[in-house]
Symmetry: none
Subunit: 225 residues, 2 copies
Amino acid sequence: MHTLLIIEDDPAMLRGLQDNFGFKGYRVLIAVDGEQGLNLALDTRPDLIILDIMLPKINGYEVCRLLRKEKIETPIIMLTAKGQEADVVLGLNIGADDYVTKPFSIRELIARVEAFLRRRDDEQPTEYHFGDCHLDVASRVFTRNGQTVNLTPREFEMLCYFLERPGRALTRDEILNHVWGYSTFVTSRSIDRFVTTLRNKIEPDPHAPRFILTVREIGYRFQPE
Amino acid sequence: MHTLLIIEDDPAMLRGLQDNFGFKGYRVLIAVDGEQGLNLALDTRPDLIILDIMLPKINGYEVCRLLRKEKIETPIIMLTAKGQEADVVLGLNIGADDYVTKPFSIRELIARVEAFLRRRDDEQPTEYHFGDCHLDVASRVFTRNGQTVNLTPREFEMLCYFLERPGRALTRDEILNHVWGYSTFVTSRSIDRFVTTLRNKIEPDPHAPRFILTVREIGYRFQPE
DNA sequence: CACAAGTGTTACGGTTTTGTTACCGTTATA
DNA sequence: TATAACGGTAACAAAACCGTAACACTTGTG
């Protein structure tokens, strides 16, 4: 499931977008001003951001610029009012990926959103290989040496999360947020436990891990081949 | 040959559409108000619906919504007058597949219609085999070992849905949306119940399922051979 | 009307999964 | 080397999850 962040202060517009995308099966997060939007984007790392330009507190351009400054590369579609063509150019320079001019057809917006996500999905494969392991996200099947090995839901999510970010040290907080969700009260020690069980299932030698490496004081890092 | 249903009250427009699509070799059904259109759609199950928004008796939005509520997944292309779009369409979860804004070029409309029909034809096989089972979608007949076995409507829809997406883990929400429709309040536990009865009808050993596999926390997966 | 078939909910029970805790070895630091 | 912080892991209790039988409700039919 994809997560969208919509940053928009007009209640009617917001409601419409929220309903339509919700109906389409997206998880929709909303923010009604720039500051809130910025924080939410940083915390939750949505798959795509729909960003109005006219916003209280921090305007859309600024939000966009700050996000890019933080190396957030999430696709951003900006909503511009009619006649702001010059702004469009500005927006694209700032790092937005696309813009849609109000009033727009919801179909068109949905089409563009889906185009981005499809592209992203193509880039982010639904299959991963490492060692003698193979993980198919769509069918949720994990095999090792051709034998399917059962991963529990948590284990599966965690492995996916690692595989999506190979080579990066992931903090326990990041892992918690992505695997457990944004509002749990789970101890970070639980992560360690799951890492152990995961290692038992995927590592050639679980006591001398080769794929899931510990980063002391930080968390873990998935090291491809 | 494909059947089109055109729901449109303006005689001139209707005439034009009817002629053009007739000329292109489609079977064209027409309705001049929402009520008639709705009934015709339910009775005849056309391959695609062209639906005007401004209609006597029941307006286009409502027709669209009611059709979706009845789990009719026929592609619907809506004809909107200029300026009707953003606000109204945004606020409603109507479920149309495409919009064309009047005035439009008939060529464009034809192109879109054909795009939908082509896509649909590519996607939809009408027969499936697995194990000693055979399902014929068109005639709605299911046989096992040559013996026809009665599937209830719900069971049938669900099996079809599984067969259309072999090997993929389907979430309960996806199943609900496709088998029960988009606006029901059916508990996802009901899915489980139907899976049980389906398994009893199609599995060699219902207690150790081979085709309909459980994907914990997610839903089910149909595993071909 | 009685009856049968289909559908959706509920509740029970077995199984799996999950989160915490405690104990222990390892590592960084003074 | 002593100490403290940190991560690995076994064990356990609680929770979540799914299969399924039982029941109630609706609808269609003779």
